[in-house]
Symmetry: C2
Subunit: 210 residues, 2 copies
DNA sequence: AGCACAAGTAACTAAATGGTGCATTGCGCG
DNA sequence: CGCGCAATGCACCATTTAGTTACTTGTGCT
């Protein structure tokens, strides 16, 4: 039985601390830039534990990616979009995507890193594929219901729409530094963020409108 | 006077080879992942030359970024969008942006790397700021002419539209690996690319339509 | 109580890495 | 034609890095 007292040895807790620290470091510096020693220190764990639980640096990166993707896909499912009218569901999805990126900036840089390495760290994960399929199905169902209700036009590809919904939020945030510097306009004030979200909702609703 | 015979010593040529090799390596592995020795070897130059001409690794990265950004901004200006009817100009711009990303995949990963490091390598470059301002002005002018001609609605923010045009192409391509794996759909077949471009043109034209 | 094994630690290593000191060589100019 | 300097090359260094070896210690179970 699991006792309530704080154990000095706790495999699960140590693993979790390592994963959390690794997520931060990989997000901050990329796979190539992150340092195993630094991750161990931030995790308040011995470096040996990283190799004990995760094998090596690349496998740790894989674990971090899987954890990050699963988190967003789980949160998306919890929206229960099927229970909303289609147009309302669409706006909810756009807002959710935007807010998730804002609240989890590490997700974006992790995905960038995964793609810098041609996605090879994602290949093994069937869990992620399943979750992704379900996600697209949710959007497809939103679209179908919208067409039936006469609020969306027909013939929209759910895959393309999904990409676009992600893109217009993701790009703004991932490239906010170059944008802020080159276009001399602060991307991260509350006003700027509100404006962008409004622009994005408007964009998608124009794209799907009947 | 510049002689035509191949010189065994040519500062400009050496610098250019280093810059080209560095662009490839930084694009491939990021700032943290790229190796100075590897860059020197690919450039067929001695490592010493990198430090001689560029100072250090970070300054080399800065030079690469500046070169990459200047290239796309220059190419954009050469489109001469002012000479086209506004709707045609808009489609031309969307296509150009897409084709540029496709033809220069290194541009995307370099921009990602620049932003991973919070854009600090871009800060010094006034050249880039000037070029960026001119670029936004071009889009604004397209929009203005379109409103005047009655083909675009008024009140569209040129900055937001610019971001969206870039985003819907950029995101698709930068995340093509994770997309291909997770959504089990090849992002890079000719058909897939054509479909995406068509979807993007359609998206933007719906957004700007009067 | 004490056994067996998992959790945890410290010190180490071999290789890689960014960066330099210093000597050499070819080019352009007077 | 030979001088001065920029261009180039080689060997080297001090750190850093991912990964490992060999060990100790706490926990749950009987």
């Amino acid at each position: 039985m699991q006792s309530t007292k704080a154990r000095t040895r706790d495999a699960e807790a140590t693993k979790a601390r390592i994963l959390a620290a690794a997520k931060i470091e990989f997000a901050r510096l990329g796979l190539g830039g992150a340092r195993v020693d630094e991750i161990a220190e931030k995790a308040e764990a011995n470096k040996r534990m990283i190799y004990h639980y995760f094998g090596n640096k690349e496998d740790l990166f894989t674990a971090v990616l899987e954890d990050a993707y699963l988190d967003i896909r789980t949160a998306e499912q919890e929206l229960q979009l099927d229970e909303l009218p289609p147009d309302e569901g669409m706006v909810t999805l756009i807002k959710f995507t935007w807010d998730y990126y804002l609240d989890h900036p590490e997700f974006i840089t992790l995905v960038n890193s995964a793609n810098l390495h041609k996605g090879k760290h994602l290949e093994k994960s069937d869990k992620l594929k399943t979750a992704s399929r379900r996600y697209i199905a949710t959007i497809q169902s939103l679209l179908d219901r919208g067409v039936e209700a006469g609020v969306f036009r027909s013939g929209i590809d759910a895959g393309q729409l999904n990409i676009t919904i992600a893109a217009i939020g993701y790009y703004y945030l991932t490239n906010r530094f170059s944008g802020t510097i080159l276009f001399e306009r602060d991307y991260m004030t509350k006003e700027a963020l509100d404006n962008r979200l409004a622009f994005n909702i408007d964009t998608i609703m124009r794209v799907v409108a009947a």
